[in-house]
Amino acid sequence: MAAATMMPYFGQQMSSKSELVPDWTSQEVSTGTTIMAVEYDGGVVIGADSRTTTGAYIANRVTDKLTPIHDRIFCCRSGSAADTQAIADVVTYQLGFHSIELDEPPLVETAANLFRASCYRYREELTAGILVAGWDRRKGGQVYCVPIGGMLVRQPVSVGGSGSSYIYGFMDSNYKTSMTKDQCLELTASALSLAMERDGSSGGVVRLASISEDGVERRVLLGDQLPKFSTH
C-alpha cells in the first residue's frame, strides 16, 4: 500500500519574518488534501476535497482536484499544486498525441505510465502524489496509484494526500469487492467527509465523479449535504 501521505512542501523564505506581510505570502501553494478512487464493475468512482493551502491560508476553498486527462481518464492530484498541474498538462498533451497516432481511445494504463515516467524522472524536484483512474475497453474500470517517488501500482481502491492516513482503517473495513456504483459513491463521500473532519489541510466541499463506458458524471456535495458522523 503506497498512496502518498502528504507533507506540504514549504518553499524557502527569502527574508527574515516581516511584520508587514503574513507568513503565508511566502509559502508554496500545496494541495494538502484527501483524494480517493475506487474501481467497480464497469467503471471507477473518484473523489477529492476542495482545499488548497499556502501555509495556514486557504488559497482556494473550492478547488477542483479531479483533472481530466482524456475523455474517460481522470487524475486526482495531491501535493504541490504547481507540480501536479504542470505534470497533468504534460501528460494531457502526450496522451492526446498518442491517442491521435493510435486512432483509438488511450488505455488508462498508458496514462498512468506517462505520469509515472515524469514523476520518477524528476523525483528529486517534484512533490506529487497522483491517482490515475478511468475506463477503457480493454480492462474496464482501473485505478492506478503514483505516489511521491514515482512508483506505479494498480489497486482496486486507493486513497492519497495528507488526509488519507485517517481513513485507511475505515476504507479497509468498509470496502468489499463487487460493489455497485452507488455503493462506491457512498463509500467515497463518507471516507472523504471523515478525513476532512480530522485533517486541517482538507476541507470545503466533496467533488465526486464516476467514469464508465457511457461517459463521465460529476457532482458536488456541499457542506450541509456531507455525511455526518460526529458523536464525540
Binding site: Y166, Y168, D172, K176, L194, S230
Partner: protein, 217 residues
C-alpha cells in the same frame, strides 16, 4: 486527541503502538496491541502487555517511550494506593488520571509518554481519560492513541456509538485494533483487551491469527 507524531524520535525501546478505550452501556473497554520496537526496525517484544492495572477497577494504556511509561505508571500506582488508603475508599478514575497528569506535566521536559486511563467508579460510572504528551487531561467517551491511531480515526468516528452493548463495544475495539495493526508497521502481535464494569474486570486476549480479517488480506 493528540497525534503521537513524536514516536519516530523516541530513543530506545518505544511503544510505537495502538491503544484505545471506549465506554459502553455499563462499562468501558480498554485495549492495545502487543508490539515493542526499537526505532521501528527491530521488534524487541511481540507480546508485551501495555494495559497496566493501577487499581482494582482502573487500568491505563501507555504510549511513547516504554521506559518512561513504566516509570510513570509505577510511581502512579504507588501514589494512587496511598491515596486510596488515606481516603478509605476506592479511588475515582479521574483521580488516577490526575496522578498521571501531574507526573507528565511536572516532568514534561524529560518524559515522552502519553496515557489513556479507563475504569469504573461509584461516582460517575464508566469513564475514559486521556493524558497527552505535555500533560493535558481530557475526558472523552472514546479515545485512541499511539502511532497506529492515525489510521483508525476515520473508522472510530464512523463506527463508535454511545451506549453500545458490551459485545458490540468489544467487537468495535477488536476491529479498530486489527485495522490499525494492519496498516502500522510498529503495531502488531496480539490484541489485549480489558473490560471493566461495576461487577469486575475481564481480560480478553485475541491472538494475531484470530483477529478479524479485511478485504485485502
Amino acid at each position: 486527541m493528540e497525534k503521537r507524531s513524536a514516536d519516530s524520535q523516541v530513543k530506545g525501546v518505544s511503544t510505537g503502538t495502538t491503544i484505545l478505550a471506549a465506554t459502553f452501556n455499563g462499562g468501558v473497554v480498554i485495549g492495545s496491541d502487543s508490539r515493542a520496537s526499537i526505532g521501528g526496525e527491530y521488534v524487541s517484544s511481540k507480546t508485551i502487555n501495555k494495559v497496566i492495572q493501577v487499581h482494582d477497577q482502573i487500568f491505563c494504556c501507555m504510549a511513547g517511550s516504554l521506559a518512561d511509561a513504566q516509570a510513570v505508571t509505577k510511581a502512579a500506582k504507588y501514589r494512587l494506593s496511598f491515596h486510596s488508603v488515606q481516603m478509605e475508599t476506592p479511588p475515582l478514575v479521574i483521580a488516577a488520571a490526575s496522578v498521571l497528569q501531574e507526573l507528565c506535566y511536572k516532568n514534561k521536559e524529560e518524559l515522552q509518554a502519553g496515557f489513556i486511563t479507563a475504569g469504573w467508579d461509584r461516582k460517575k460510572g464508566p469513564q475514559v481519560y486521556v493524558v497527552s504528551l505535555g500533560g493535558m487531561l481530557i475526558g472523552q467517551p472514546v479515545t485512541i492513541g499511539g502511532s497506529g491511531s492515525t489510521y483508525i480515526y476515520g473508522y472510530v468516528d464512523a463506527k463508535y456509538k454511545p451506549n453500545m452493548s458490551r459485545e458490540e463495544c468489544l467487537q468495535f475495539a477488536t476491529n479498530a485494533l486489527a485495522l490499525a495493526m494492519g496498516r502500522d508497521n510498529v503495531s502488531g502481535g496480539v490484541a489485549h483487551l480489558v473490560v471493566i464494569t461495576e461487577t469486575g474486570v475481564e481480560h480478553v486476549v485475541v491472538p494475531g491469527n484470530k483477529l478479524p480479517k479485511f478485504h485485502n488480506e
